[in-house]
Structure formats: C-alpha cells, structure tokens
Assembly symmetry: C2
Homo-oligomer: 359 residues x 2
DNA sequence: GCATCCAACGTAAGCGGTTACGTAGGTAAC
DNA sequence: GTTACCTACGTAACCGCTTACGTTGGATGC
C-alpha cells in the first residue's frame, strides 16, 4: 500500500547510485554480485517495485500490448455460455505476451464507447491487436497512425495504391471453405451446393466463397458467379436468406454458410419449411462457436484456431514493435474441419490442416 | 506508427501552452470552446495520443488495474473447452473497469514464473485483483505491501492479531452448500449424507463443510465432527476419496463434494463400484464448471456468479484506490443452486439466492 | 472610476525511472 | 613504469506529461 519508496530511496539505503539500482533491477550488467544482492535486499525490504510509468517514459517502452475485441453478447447470454471464441484469443495473447516478458491490456468495445476507449488504450501500450468487428475501418486506420497495429481475423477493405495497412493474422478462410465443400462433394456425394454469403464487402465472406468455388472447380462442377444468397453474419440473417432461397424454388442438396450464426439460422428456416437436415439438405457453418456443437443436428463446421491466432498476433506485434520499418506481414493459420451430424457425418471430428500461405 | 509528436508539438501548433492541451485532453475546465476545438483538431491531425506513461508518472495514476489468475489447463484441454470460469471473471473485470474509465491488465501465473510476473505487473497498475490459486499467500502479502490488492474467491489463512489482510470478494460458500444440502434432504429425502472435503486449510472447503453441517442441523439430523473424506480439489482426489470411503463399508445416500472436479472423480469411483447415480447415491458438486453440465449424469452443483465476482472485485479495488485508508472490506455474493440429474432432479435449474453478508 | 472577481490561460517544478557518458581503480602487456 | 584496457560504478540530462500557482484582461459592483 505504501507505494512511497522510489529508486532514490533504494539507492541511498544501498549506498549506490540510482543507475546501479536500475541496472540491477533490469537484470543488466555492470555491477558486482555483492552489489546486486544488497540492492535486491533493500528493494525487498522496502517492498519497492519500480514504477512502470517512469520506466515506460524513460525507456519509451511500456512492456504492454493491447488487445481490443468486440463486446458481443452484452445481453441475452445468461443461459448461453458466451462464445468462448474471444476468450480463447485472450488466453492465447496472454500466453504469448507473458512468455516474451510483456503483459496484455484488454478492452471490449461496445459500439458506443469504442473509439474513445481504443485511443485511451493506445496511449498505454506499445502496440495493439485489434480483433475483427471491434472498430470501424476508419478508426483502425487512425489508430495505426499512432501505434503499431496487428489486425486479427479481419482485414481492411481499402487497399489503395500506396496504402500500406497494418499487419494481419487470420485463419485460412479459403482453404477451410474449400476443404468443407470438397468433403460434401467427395464424401457425401453432393452435386448441387449453395453458398450463403455474409455481408457484401466482408473479406472473410469473399474468401470463403472463393474456397467454395475452388472446390466446385476441382470437382468439375459448375461454378456460380455469385453466392446463392446473402445476408448479415447473424442467425436472423441466415434464416432470412434461406427463406428467400427456398421461396425461389431452389432446393440445393447442401448449403455452405458463411459462418455458424448463419448456419444456425439456416437450420431454423429449413425446419420451418419442413426440410430435414441432413436427410434432405446438408448444412455447414464456419467458426465452430460453442452453439454449433449444441445445435440439433450438431453443426458441421470449420474451426479457427483461436488460441493460436491470439498467440500469433501478439508475436507478430512484438516483432513489429522491435522492427518498425520492415515490410507489412500477414500470417494465415490453417483451419480444421469439424464434421458433425448436419452434413450426415456421425464421426466426432475429422481434422486436417487446410493450408498455409504468406500474404 | 510515427509516435513522435508530443504535447509540446501540439501546444506549439495550436498556439497554446502544454497546460492547456493537457486540460483539454483531460476533459477538464479552464479553456474556451474555440481553444478546445483547435487543440483537438491539432491532436487529430498529428494523430497524437497522450503518453500513458508520462500521464501515469505525473498524475501518479496509471488508470490500469491488474488481474492475476492461475494458468489452469495449460495442457490436456485440446478436447475440453477450458473451464470458462476464469474467462467470465476476466470479462466481468473488464466491464467494471471500462465503465469506470480504467483498463484491465491480465496475467496468468504458471507456478514457475508466478512471483516475478506478479511483481512486474504490480509496477504497471494502480491495484491488483488476485484470483484464488494464483499465488502463494506469502507472495500475496508481499504484493499487498506495494499496491492495493483485492482477493477474489480466496482468503488469506493467516489472521494474526494485528494483521489486516487485503479486501476480499467471494461467493457465499456456506450458504450455497447449505442450500444444496437442504435440497437433498427436503426434496429428495436423504438422511445419510457424506461431505467430501478439499485440502485441509482451504477456507473454501471449510466454509462449504460448515454449510453442510448447518443444513443437517436445521433438519435435526446428526452432525458429523469432520468430513467423511478428504482429498485434493481434483478429479483424482475425488475418485480416491470415494474409493476409500466405500472401502470402509460406508454407503451414504448422498455425497456432497467440495467442488465439481471432486464430484466428477466421485462419479468415476462410484461407477467402478457399480453403484448407480443417482439411484443408489446422489452426488453434488460446487462451482458449475463446464464439465459439470456434460457429465453423465449431469452434475447438480452450486454456481458462483463469476462475472459478477469479477465486476465486484474491480469496483471494490477502485474504491480502495480512491480511499486507501478505510477499513478492510469483504463482499460475499450469493450463489445459485443448479439441480441436474445427479441428485435425481429432472428440471434444468432451480435457482435461488443463498445469502449475502458483510465480512 | 476604481476595487473585485473570474475565466482563460502560461510558467515551471516535479513525477521516478533510464542511459549516454565520464571516471576511478585494478590488471595485463611490454 | 607507462600505456592500454576493462570492470564497476556515479553524474546528470532527459522522457512527456500534470498541476500548483501566477498572470492578464475584461466584466461587474457601487
């Protein structure tokens, strides 16, 4: 509690200068073993902890990285255990940071306070990891002008000629979607597949659609020019999109959805239309949120390695902080196929890496 | 990236002094609207964010609170989604901090690095919330000498005459256990109940045992002098303890376990002994970890309000930071009874607050 | 018309470390 | 016995803010 003692006090009592105390505390060199012990003893005796603020100021390095994530499930998840999606990322980030001697500052952006919060955090850290859907692109661009930023699982839409965006870490959307689609074709014999896209302009959705198309091409099936339907990345969006699809008279054998929420909505719409899943139509998602496993039927999906994404993004951020003026990097982590009932699989999980590529 | 500009640069370009810039950025008073806009514009133009370190140094307040938690499930939870226990606390802490304008720094202590990590964090924050099982008591005492500390869901064993421990926030162990035991007696008619205690000296275990005894007393049943068995707070501990209990020839109608892990172990031991749960013997846990719901039979247990605990501990910490020299506080939050198959209940969840009391 | 008061600033002394640079004393080389 | 060099420190100039205190100029009171 008595946070009163300073490096001066410790130096005085140890009979050395503040420089020496500083060197000892930083595990540096330039002092004898005896001096080291004396200083450490004095510090312990005074229960002195060097001030992070003073250190940060003088050394121009706080030793803190910030993680900004969207505050999903503000309400309504009293019953539902909230998607541990974000939690895994947090844990991964913490682990990577700690093992590098840094700490992680977390902040959830509720749409209201997002901008101010983010800027407040930006001042306290050496760099920022920004998770998808935390902030509008403009704010991200603004932030990245005052502090190193790594984007996680999202990418800036704007890619002008000389615009160099922040570093990026994400999962292999294309490969995962391609693997899932190939699975539906090769294992379950589907030939009439429909893709349910997320909001227009979403890089995630576009990449997943590209993977879907690639798998069709691979199998020699006709490749659609555009997704069969489009909606927002929500249950309501998926339900709506499938309802409209059905209304057009289309009856695909399988529906590949842009994400799990949409797939969940798709299940609802299909049930309402008295179509059985997977007997009449197979449904797949993307992300493997907690609800996917609990859906009836359990949802086949593509899992993103959340913890690894968290770790990876912090590592990338730290390397960027250490070397500011190197080329922009982007890292793509492999996804994992999770096959459950909704695609007619009985097995628990067939896993397989989907690919890995530089950006 | 160009984190170059300082308050001096902003002041110069705005034609004011640094004091005015500072006042504007802190949303203070003592400047005209015109000045305010000019400064804000300049700041945005330079994409300047005030340095948290410099602010912290000058104002003696970082605006950061630290949360220290144990790094459970380092390995082996590839299949198991790790108990979201801690994650809920983190989210709660984040919410409370953010709404007070602060941020949360998180750090997981793996037994190896615990001490150093904690002290490193202590220097960067205004105060610390320390979750149960993160650190040995000695380290907690040491930390609390250099920074305000709130203990979460654990309490220091040592309570010497003039020893004033840190503030404390926890769930109503006694009330929760009492309610569960009363449920077993009143609803399911049990009269021969056994308590499976955690490690000796654990305040949690002791309080839960006390609640167990109180319920027996309430019902006019004989009250044991000591728990029927004792083990560590793990599955192995619970399994072992029940095996030994059975070996003595004892066949209680219900086993009230010190926590969920022990209860899970108990299920295993009972199965091995060919005793059916709940037909032959009822089993209950404490905590409501994720695995409790998925156990066969699903485990009846007592849920701690993790998110609320996180929120509450941060709020308490912030009030302590604001007013250092007030009496030690302790807050006890009510628990919730969660009845599932393992106590013969079919219903999903019967909830009820268990009590609330000052310390 | 003059004292009073207040809003709107400016001045400058820290806050508690880090670190470039300087120095003393001892050792090795020749 | 010098010179050169290295280890183990000390000196002091920052790092970029906050804030107590001082100042100014116009409005107000009488």
């Amino acid at each position: 509690m008595a946070d009163r003692s300073t490096i001066y006090e410790v130096a005085r009592r140890s009979g050395v200068s503040t420089a020496t105390v500083s060197r000892v505390m930083a595990d540096g060199t330039g002092f004898s073993a005896a001096t080291r012990e004396r200083v450490k003893a004095t510090a312990a005796e005074l229960s002195w902890v060097p001030s992070g603020s003073a250190r940060g100021l003088a050394a121009r390095r706080t030793g803190i990285v910030g993680l900004i994530f969207p505050d999903l499930g503000q309400s309504g998840d009293a019953e539902e255990e909230s998607p541990l999606y974000v939690d895994q990322v947090i844990r991964g980030a913490e682990r990577a940071a700690t093992s590098a001697g840094d700490a992680v500052l977390i902040a959830a952006t509720s749409t209201a306070s997002g901008r101010d919060l983010a800027f407040s955090v930006a001042g306290k850290v050496d760099g920022l990891v920004i998770l998808a859907r935390s902030l509008p692109d403009d704010d991200i661009v603004a932030l990245s002008r005052s502090v190193p930023v790594v984007l996680l699982a999202t990418n800036l839409a704007r890619s002008g000629p000389d615009f160099v965006g922040p570093d990026f870490v994400g999962a292999d959307n294309r490969g995962g979607s391609r693997a899932m689609t190939a699975h539906l074709i090769a294992v379950h014999g589907h030939t009439d597949l429909a893709f349910l896209a997320g909001p227009a302009g979403s890089p995630d959705s576009e990449e997943r659609f590209a993977g879907f198309c690639a798998a069709l091409r691979d199998a020699g099936l006709p490749e659609p020019a555009a997704p069969a339907a489009t909606g927002s990345f929500t249950e309501a969006g998926g339900e709506q999109a499938v309802r409209e699809l059905i209304a057009t008279g289309r009856r695909p054998g399988a529906i590949v959805c842009g994400n799990d929420e949409m797939a969940l909505g798709a299940l609802t719409a299909l049930r309402a239309a008295e179509l059985r899943v997977p007997a009449d139509v197979a449904v797949t998602g993307f992300d493997d949120i907690a609800a996917a496993r609990r859906a009836r039927p359990a949802l086949s999906t593509v899992r993103q390695p959340m913890r690894e994404l968290g770790e990876c993004s912090v590592r990338l951020l730290l390397s960027r902080i250490a070397a500011a003026d190197t080329a922009r990097k982007s890292v793509v982590l492999p996804t994992e196929l999770v096959t459950r009932r909704s695609c007619s699989c009985a097995s628990r999980a067939v896993s397989g890496p989907s690919g890995r590529s530089p950006g």
